[in-house]
Symmetry: C2
Subunit: 199 residues, 2 copies
DNA sequence: AGTATCTTGGAATTCTCATTTCAGGATGGC
DNA sequence: GCCATCCTGAAATGAGAATTCCAAGATACT
């Protein structure tokens, strides 16, 4: 009896993610969303609700599809410090070149804007931070097990440090920070932690 | 012959700084500015121009009055690493407690938002980063001269690292990061750089 | 085929925002 | 005390925002 949806909500949400990711929620109008997705206002509202709901859904999708896979790879990689190094290498490359260059991280961007006044958004921010920190911690524990950490280095504190560093990379990349400089900086941090960190 | 201004533009701008600093430019209306400053729309426009001009003026004032004094103190302090440690101590305290708690840094916030699409704003962002990095570098050169740096530590790369760390602190403080954790994290970074860093 | 139900397109509605305008009031040199 | 000049207040303007509504079209089960 019912009619079926004539579009793919998932593909639509991906388009919306890119809009909010690049421009932020405040400077993105529903009209922008309508234009970019090609579908109708009514369909948008019927499917996702209002603008804030749409933003929340987009932010959730970003976390699941973009952040968490990276975190998982980092946490489950058995190599220790090389995994951390690779994580930052991929991060810097994604932030400074290719399609998403200078877009920063959608979650980091949300930290700085008025988005974070929404409790649900704040919860996502906290979740993101917790997961990043825990993934980093897991990789450092692995590194410690394999004797890669310099003496006196605490994995917990180092996880906090590297997580904070990642936010710095995310933020500065939006202003066009140089990838080579960022890489050198991250390498220095890793060298200070480990007996020998890969590139 | 002319009438004189009936208010203090400097005090007004300070009020405006706090509005934009806390809420960002997109979610702050001219009406908010009118209400907060108590002066009239016409006076606002006559004195500062439009909203974007007002934001630029506020951002400039923030840089001059809030950031640069800190940078100068850091660069001109002759103690080396203790100066760096004190810089971060003051930063964390300002970001996590008192009147401006959870406001982050107005410049860091501008990185993440749509503000940075304005070339003039971008220039301020670059200037801020350059000055922060150079101040950090100066302090580390001082530290090196006094033999405070561990062997193999490059002041330039370390300056980049600590600058990036400051951005991380600024960003995460907006989400309510714990001051004690931030302090521990920063201390660890300083310990990895110096032979002995003060609290 | 019929029909209940959902989707769709686009106009309509209701706000809010930035900016301008203008008449009246205050100022200070003459 | 006069007047050119600037300031002040409040309303007006006009663009653009989010959201809602409704008539028309499409669907799939009976």
């Amino acid at each position: 009896m019912p009619d079926i949806k004539h579009f793919d909500p998932d593909a639509t949400l991906e388009t919306v993610v890119r809009l909010f990711w690049r421009q932020g929620v405040a400077s993105t109008g529903i009209q922008d969303v309508v234009t970019a997705t090609g579908l109708n206002r009514s369909s948008l509202y019927a499917t996702f609700g209002g603008k804030q709901d749409l933003y929340r859904a987009a932010l959730g999708r970003y976390l699941e599809q973009r952040s968490q896979p990276m975190f998982r790879r980092l946490a489950e990689d058995g190599r220790g410090l090389p995994a951390v190094s690779e994580f930052f290498g991929g991060l810097i490359e994604a932030r400074c070149s290719g399609e998403y260059a200078r877009w920063g991280c959608m979650v980091s961007n949300a930290h700085a804007g008025a988005e974070n006044s929404d409790p649900e958004v704040r919860a996502v921010l906290d979740q993101h931070h917790h997961e990043l920190r825990e993934a980093m911690y897991a990789a450092l524990i692995t590194a410690e097990t394999q004797g890669q950490l310099s003496s006196g280095v605490d994995p917990g504190t180092s996880a906090d440090l590297l997580a904070l560093l990642a936010y710095g990379v995310n933020l500065r990349s939006r202003a066009g920070a140089d990838a080579a400089t960022l890489s050198r900086t991250v390498s220095a941090a890793l060298n200070s932690i480990g007996v020998r960190a890969a590139a």
